[in-house]
Structure formats: structure tokens, C-alpha cells
């Protein structure tokens, strides 16, 4: 979008929406939308308080353990599926099933199996993230340029060499894009888990603020969450673009 010959940066319209929000808030159109300025003031106010920091810590911990295990399991499994026909045919139906399944429905099971704490949330997060990571790693390996494989064979590469020096790197763009989508899903998973279990992390904060009608508190937390998830997604997209040059030229 250009305006008076000046190119407006992407996402800059959010500022406009922010201003609109502020106006709607100021004229008190609805109780549920306090002015943005008030929300930011609240954010600064609660940003340093223990409940908020704790919620953030708990969420970050669950998120990192969940996504870390999703990557550690998902990438090797995906690569294995891409390389081995039998494993692929055995696992692919399940991966596809869980990829499109509404995993939210599994949260109650996880709650009764693993309790109302960190463990359930970690598993929810990992479950949300892992399937797309598996599928993308598999796709990355599958579309590998066959002459690269032959090249490594012709120089006498061992299985391990081929795996770590050729397959992994060739699949890296797809793996990264799987990780990015997986992370976006994991953010949703961690929040859905906390909402349903509702006595941990941001889940309990939301419960508290909602039951006390603390609108600006509620929005302050929401904005932090939205911003964090957006930053994570953008950072991974940036990493993905850095390997783009070889994704398109195979």
C-alpha cells in the first residue's frame, strides 16, 4: 500500500486500529472494550506482579518443554518416515489422523491421566505441535534431489553420514516451516490446555479477571499473549526465509 508516494510498511494499519480502539474505549461504547491506553497502563501495573510473572513462567516452561519434545521426536520420526517405506506406511495414517483431529477433545483425557498440572499442559502442547513437524520433515526428505543422495553414495558415505550431512540439511527448509506452524499450533495448545484445566498459568489469571470483571486486566494479558505468539511466529518465519535460497533451487 502506498500513500502519497510513500510506501506504508506491512502491519502498520494496526496502529490505525489501535487508535480506533482507543476512541471506542474513550466514548465507552461497550463495557468490554476499555481504552487501549488504560490497558497499557494496567499492563505496566500488573507486569511486575508475582501472579503475572508466575503465569508467564509456567506457560513458558510448558511451552518450551512441549515444543522441544515435539521437535526432538517429530523431526527424527519424520525423517525416518521419509526414508523408510514400511515405517511410512505404518505411521502415516495415524499422523494424518491426528493432524486434522480436533485435539482439544483429548485434553479431558490428559487431565484424568496426568493430573491438573504442568504435565498435562506439556503433553497438550506437544500433541498440538508434533504432527505437522513430522509431516513436514517427511515431505522434506521425500523431495530430496536424488542426485545428492547418489553423490554422497558415490563418495562412499555411510548411512549416518548421509543422514546428518545430506538428508537433514536438504530437508531443513521444510523442517523449519513445519516447526513454525507447529509452534503456532503449540501456542494455541498451551492456552487451550490452561483454559480447560484453568487452575494453572494464564488459565487461572483469566478465570480471576473474568469473574471480577477486570476488563483492562483481561485485555492486558491477552495483548501480551498475542504479541508473544506473533513474535515467535515472525522469528521462525525469518529463520525460514534465511534458508529459502536453497529451498527454491533444488
Amino acid at each position: 500500500m502506498t500513500l502519497f508516494g510513500y510506501k506504508l510498511p506491512n502491519m502498520s494499519s494496526l496502529i490505525l486500529w489501535g487508535i480506533l480502539w482507543e476512541i471506542v474505549g474513550q466514548i465507552e461504547l461497550t463495557f468490554f472494550l476499555p481504552p487501549l491506553s488504560e490497558i497499557f497502563a494496567t499492563l505496566i501495573e500488573i507486569g511486575g506482579t508475582t501472579p503475572f510473572i508466575n503465569a508467564l513462567k509456567e506457560t513458558a516452561l510448558a511451552f518450551s518443554i512441549g515444543t522441544f519434545s515435539a521437535i526432538c521426536i517429530g523431526v527424527p520420526v519424520g525423517i525416518l518416515m521419509g526414508k523408510n517405506q514400511l515405517i511410512d506406511e505404518l505411521l502415516l495414517p495415524w499422523v494424518n489422523l491426528f493432524l486434522s483431529a480436533p485435539l482439544t477433545a483429548l485434553v479431558p483425557v490428559l487431565m484424568v491421566l496426568f493430573g491438573f498440572g504442568l504435565k498435562s499442559i506439556v503433553i497438550t502442547t506437544a500433541l498440538f505441535a508434533i504432527w505437522i513437524i513430522v509431516l513436514n520433515s517427511r515431505a522434506g526428505v521425500r523431495q530430496i534431489n536424488q542426485s545428492l543422495v547418489e553423490m554422497s553414495k558415490s563418495f562412499g558415505a555411510s548411512q549416518l553420514d548421509a543422514l546428518t550431512k545430506i538428508y537433514f540439511w536438504a530437508a531443513l527448509p521444510e523442517i523449519l516451516s513445519g516447526v513454525r506452524i507447529g509452534f503456532i499450533r503449540a501456542v494455541k495448545g498451551v492456552i487451550i490446555g490452561q483454559l480447560l484445566i484453568s487452575i494453572v498459568g494464564f488459565g487461572s489469571l483469566f478465570e480471576l479477571y473474568a469473574s471480577n470483571f477486570l476488563m483492562s486486566h483481561f485485555w492486558a494479558v491477552l495483548i501480551v499473549l498475542f504479541a508473544l505468539s506473533f513474535i515467535i511466529a515472525e522469528f521462525l518465519a525469518y529463520l525460514e526465509r534465511r534458508v529459502d535460497y536453497y529451498a527454491s533451487r533444488r
Binding site: 494496526l14 506406511e89 505404518l90 503456532i184 483454559l195 480447560l196
Partner: protein, 255 residues
Amino acid sequence: MLAKHRANILKLISALVVFTAWEIAGRVPVSFAFPTFFESVSAFWALLIDGTMFKAYAETLKPLVIGILISAFFGIGIGLFVGLSRGFDWLVSPIFIVMQTAPLAALIPLLVMAYGIGLTSKVFVVCIMAMPVIVLNTGGAVRNTPANLIEMGEAFLGSRRQVIMKIILPAAFPIIFAGLRLGVSAGFIGAILSELKITPTGVGDIITYSRSIADYPSMYAAIASIIILAVLFLNVLERVENKLLQGSRKPSALD
């Protein structure tokens, strides 16, 4: 003979292995809340026979269907404008991009406060989950119509309206449809989430109720049923998509 059915045989083996593992894990048992496979299947059957399941799904599918229809209508509409107008794209897209990456589930408590615990809130949840992916895919598909096709239309003196109706829309259709499918997938998450979080109705009610009376086989059966339903429905959509797109290259929609 064997080679021809290899794929299906392997699928069967794979399923058998998983179900056997489930059965064994249930018999050990790994947890008091982990029923065996056969217990779950018979609970599933019982729910199906006495009609509980059908009543529950009539309830569950209501917000889902309404929400998907609304999202499809407005999502594709907004997406079209996004794709056709640079200014509108600049103005509106960022909101949907943020919605797409953000954990919108967190809005549920707010929606409950604003619209109560009835159908409206649930429809709303389905909409906010399903709409972004539909808008973004439609917008992207329309924006990326091959320039040479549009130029061809203009060279043969097509009006703007003709170019949109006869070139841009058909060219964008595959990705719009794929976006719709992803929207349905997200809508399922929304529908279940709202039944578990807002008020237990339909399948959410079976899950919540059987959990509260520790009838775990029924709980597992209900959960399995919604997962199977969602997967089957999405599979059918994908089949339809492939059927409609025979010959043309399968596009990759953005998730």
C-alpha cells in the same frame, strides 16, 4: 495380489498394533482412568444404540454448522476484497494475520461475559477460529491470480466484472476451497472447546458427565467419536476437493 493390497494391509496391521497396545495398556492397567479398547468400543456401541450419541451430535453440530456458514460467507467476502484491493489488504489483513497466529481461545471468557453461555457464544467461538484461515487463503489466492491470465482477459476486452467472475474466481477456487477445509478443521476445535469450556452440551456433555461419574469408557468413546467424525468429514472434503480439481495442480493452502 499381496502387493496390490499392501497399503491397506499395512494400515490394518498398524491399526491392530495400536489397538492391541491400547487393550494391553488398559488391562495392566496403566492408570485407573485408562479403560481397555474393548470396554471403550462397547461403551461407544451403547451410546450409539440408545440414541444418546445422535442427540448429542444434533446439539454439537448446531454451533459448528452455523459458525462455519457465517465464516464461509463473510470470510470469502472479506477475502475477495482483500485480494482485489491493495488498500483494503493493508487495512484488514494484519488483523487476520494476528488472529491466525494468536491463541484466540483466550477470548472465550470474554465472549461468555458479553454473550452469555448460550448458542451465540458458541457460534462466535467457531467463527473466530475458522474465519482467519478462510480470509487469508481467499485473499492470497485472489491476489496471486496469474498476471498473464488477467492480461489475457483484458486483452480480449473483458470488463472488470467479467475478469473477476470468469478468470480470477475460477483461478482462485482451489485455494479458497482448501482454506475452507482448514476453516472447518479449526471450527471443530472451536465447537469442542466451547462445549468443554462454556457449557457442557452435546458431546461435551457426555465427556464432562462421564468423567464426573468416572465412567471412563464412555468418556473415551465420546472423545473418539468426535475425533473420528472430524477426520472423516475433513477427509470427505479433501476427496471432493481432489475430484473438483482433477487435472489441475493441487495448490498448497496456508495453515
